[in-house]
Symmetry: C2
Subunit: 332 residues, 2 copies
Amino acid sequence: MKTVRCSILGFGAVGQGVAEVLLMKKEYMKSIGLEILVVAVVDSKGAAVNPDGVDLADCLSRKRTKGTVGVEKLTAVEVIKSVDHELVIETTPTNIVTGGAGLQNMLAAFETGKDVITSNKGPLTLKYKELMEAAKNSGSKFRFEATVGGSMPVINLANEVLAGNRIKSIKGILNGTCNYILTRMLEERASYKDILAEAKELGIAESDPAYDVDGIDTACKLVILANAIFGLNVTYRDVEVTGITKITPDALEMAYERGHVIKLIGEVSRERIHVAPRLVPINHPLDVRGTLNVASIDTELAGEITVTGKGAGPIETASAILSDLVAIYANQ
Amino acid sequence: MKTVRCSILGFGAVGQGVAEVLLMKKEYMKSIGLEILVVAVVDSKGAAVNPDGVDLADCLSRKRTKGTVGVEKLTAVEVIKSVDHELVIETTPTNIVTGGAGLQNMLAAFETGKDVITSNKGPLTLKYKELMEAAKNSGSKFRFEATVGGSMPVINLANEVLAGNRIKSIKGILNGTCNYILTRMLEERASYKDILAEAKELGIAESDPAYDVDGIDTACKLVILANAIFGLNVTYRDVEVTGITKITPDALEMAYERGHVIKLIGEVSRERIHVAPRLVPINHPLDVRGTLNVASIDTELAGEITVTGKGAGPIETASAILSDLVAIYANQ
């Protein structure tokens, strides 16, 4: 049995999802020779630390009742520097302007020789090359499948399962909120405004939806794919972006009558990275509905390989983190 | 640079595809630190052997002009036992009654400590457990992504990219010939017999199509998924199988008017393994057309993840073999 000591930094929806998944999968992890010992959980207000393992069920209930997991006034960086562990699971909120706490956490983790698994797009969108170099210099593992498409595999699919295959382009629907809004506008012949209100009510759109509906979230995911799969060194500024706020029910209906749906498509190749509403033939592999995500990977040897799955959700995103964890530590 | 010496056993469409892909990807392989030296190519009539590397372009042209690559009267097993190499690429034809040459080749490869990558379903369908044990005893690597879905990843996707996720079931379309016939019967309102004739003419169906249209090929693929992903120990006899030969254009049309297509669906779970024509709602992720394959993986944590791709073709199948090769030897 190998024991992996880890911290969970950020204890919002995804961080809590990770805690739940680790509780659920404890026996399974033992069956593949791994014991995952969470030695610290940190949110913006404080930390719970125990070198012998914090009680995750306690952390979840404390977060729900008190709004914080914190019993000690320690920041994430202080925990990284002072608590012995091998793995940082970084799930703080995405900040694409400064990189936020996530960037500091990842750099501190690499400085102290720790591996990092993250769902946080911000640091990868801004400082991909620096992070990869920091990880390399310290011999740290760094995995981030959860940053793109939630549980829908893209990065590890392209880089590992399709290894040896030159990827020509990847295009798809990488934002479930936009896909939900466009799907429902067509179904209900309703305005963008009305469906956005519905999506907010259902928790599918944020109270400030700009990050999703303006295409920024999709653009950030393309930046990560561009860097991680195509070996580029680009940032958000290299992406041409148009969102969905100008799309009318009339446009959707007219397209449908001509055999098409309108989807917010992100596409990345070595030549161009762009996000825009585009026509997709009905029943085309990219014509997926509701909050689903889809990515079509155009390969040199195998043609197009298309993958569809749930792009968001705490447990779904945590499952991508778990797969990264198993990939690093099982059979090591 | 690490040199991997390998043999290609079986030099039909897939074996030739492997040779072509190795020629195409020579520079790429070097860029990831691998030199793949093919020291023997064997078909049913003879062998070409050179410890310093055979000329693959020569082999391909000799096969096309003379019908055999053979310049020496050596069998595959003799090559395995007498020629130094690390990897056997086994692409002889599938035989699900005896396991055919493939079974003997794989066992001989493991006995002599060689790794095996294969596209050959027969041995895996009949003797999965024995093969896994033989590989384990000799410390050999054994990979077979190409046996299911050609270039469409399923086995490595479920076992590696989705690691940690308990797979509840896999269902999909795993035979492109059947999918082509059913798609075309609906499009043309034509009989099974007429479209089968068309498919034979296009090289999509074999002259004896029973293996495909009776559902046997799909059943064999399910057996491999059952053993490799669900950890079962089953053979072809454990699968309930119905093929597509009784389906009429009327049935397809009636289903379509009610919003459905009829597809030959294979499904595997821990409880049941079966192949049968089933109704699929139009625009459902399993509603893929033509010769495409699709697999929907139902996971405990991430819901359904669906992958679509080309299920056959020599280069496509060879690309799955190449990915297995990179997975074994790169970064080792």
